[in-house]
C-alpha cells in the first residue's frame, strides 16, 4: 500500500495529470474527515476542494522522509479545517445536516427516537473537544485507521496515541455527564 502510494506520488510529481490517481484514492477519506469536523456537506465540499488544491500546488515540495503521502494530506486537511474554525471565530458548529436529520433543538424529545437524540448529544460533545482529540476519534472510528497510522499522521508515538485516546474517552464522558446535569 505504502509502496504503491509512493509510486503514484512520484508519477504525479513528474506528470501533473497523474495526480488524478491520488485524488481518486483519497477523496472519500478526506471528505469524510472534513465532514466529521465541520458537520455539514456544504463546508465539507468547500474545504475538501481547498485541501486537494493545496496538495496539488505543493506536491513538488513533498518528500517521503518517513511521513506517508496520506499523512501529509490529512495534515493539510487538518490545517484547512483549523483555519476555517479560526476564520469563523470559533463559534459552535451547528450541523445543518444534523438538524435536517434529527429535527430542531426546540422540538419535543418525544418526536425524536431516543437513539437519535443520544447520538446528536454525543456528536455535539465530540465537536466540543479540542481539535486534536476530534481528529483522533475521526481517524480511529470513521476512517478505521490503526494506532500506528494515526501516530504517523499526528506526528506522535503509538504509545502517545493510546494515552491520548484514553484521555479523550474520559474527557468525552465528563462532557456528556456535564451536559446531562446542565
Amino acid at each position: 500500500m505504502e509502496q504503491q502510494e509512493r509510486l503514484l506520488v512520484e508519477r504525479a510529481q513528474n506528470d501533473p495529470l497523474a495526480f488524478a490517481a491520488l485524488y481518486e484514492m483519497y477523496v472519500d477519506r478526506v471528505y469524510n474527515y472534513i465532514y466529521q469536523r465541520t458537520g455539514n456537506h456544504s463546508d465539507a465540499e468547500d474545504l475538501t476542494e481547498r485541501t486537494f488544491l493545496k496538495a496539488f500546488m505543493h506536491l513538488e515540495h513533498y518528500m517521503f522522509r518517513g511521513v506517508p503521502f496520506s499523512a501529509w494530506l490529512y495534515r493539510i486537511a487538518h490545517n484547512v479545517v483549523a483555519n476555517w474554525h479560526r476564520d469563523r471565530g470559533r463559534h459552535r458548529v451547528v450541523s445543518l445536516d444534523a438538524l435536517v436529520a434529527y429535527g430542531k433543538d426546540d422540538e419535543k424529545p418525544e418526536d425524536l427516537t431516543q437513539a437519535r437524540e443520544e447520538q446528536r448529544v454525543l456528536l455535539d460533545a465530540i465537536r466540543r473537544l479540542p481539535a486534536e482529540r476530534q481528529q483522533l476519534l475521526i481517524l480511529k472510528f470513521s476512517e478505521g485507521l490503526t494506532n500506528a497510522r494515526i501516530a504517523q499522521i499526528m506526528g506522535r508515538t503509538e504509545g502517545a496515541i493510546k494515552s491520548l485516546y484514553h484521555r479523550t474517552l474520559l474527557a468525552l464522558r465528563e462532557e456528556l455527564q456535564k451536559n446531562k446535569i446542565g
Partner: protein, 128 residues
C-alpha cells in the same frame, strides 16, 4: 490514573469490529477498581463509532472536483511546455558567444604576433 492494561485493552478494542465486547481474560487483567470504568469506556467507544459513521461525497461533486483538478493539471503542463523551448535557445546563444570570444581572442593573438614579428624584422634591418 492511566493503567497500562486499560490503555492497551481500549486501544486494541478500538481496532476491532465489535469494540464494545471484552473477554473474561482481559476483564480479569485489569485491577478490580478499574473494571467498571473500563466497561463504561468501551461502551462509550462503541457509541462514538456509531455516531461517526463514514460519510461519502456526492458522485456529482466527486466527479466535478476531479475534472477541475485535471484541468488544472493540463494548464500546468501547457505552461511548462511553453517555458521548456527557451532552454535550447539559451544554450545556442551561450555557445555562439563563447565561439565569438574564442575567434576574437585568436585574431588579437594573430595581430600581436604579426606586430612583434614585423617589429623584430625592422630592428634586424636597422642593425645591418
Amino acid at each position: 490514573m492511566e493503567h497500562k492494561d486499560v490503555l492497551e485493552i481500549l486501544a486494541a478494542h478500538a481496532d476491532q469490529p465489535n469494540s464494545g465486547a471484552i473477554s473474561d481474560a482481559e476483564y480479569l487483567q485489569v485491577p478490580a477498581e478499574q473494571r467498571q470504568e473500563l466497561l463504561l469506556l468501551l461502551q462509550l467507544a462503541e457509541q462514538v463509532k456509531g455516531a461517526l459513521a463514514p460519510v461519502r461525497p456526492s458522485p456529482s461533486y466527486r466527479r466535478k472536483l476531479g475534472l477541475d483538478l485535471t484541468e488544472m493539471a493540463r494548464q500546468r503542463m501547457s505552461r511548462d511546455l511553453l517555458i521548456a523551448p527557451s532552454s535550447p535557445r539559451k544554450e545556442l546563444i551561450v555557445g555562439a558567444a563563447i565561439g565569438s570570444a574564442v575567434a576574437l581572442a585568436g585574431s588579437i593573438a594573430y595581430l600581436v604576433r604579426t606586430y612583434i614579428h614585423t617589429r623584430s624584422q625592422h630592428v634586424g634591418q636597422a642593425r645591418t
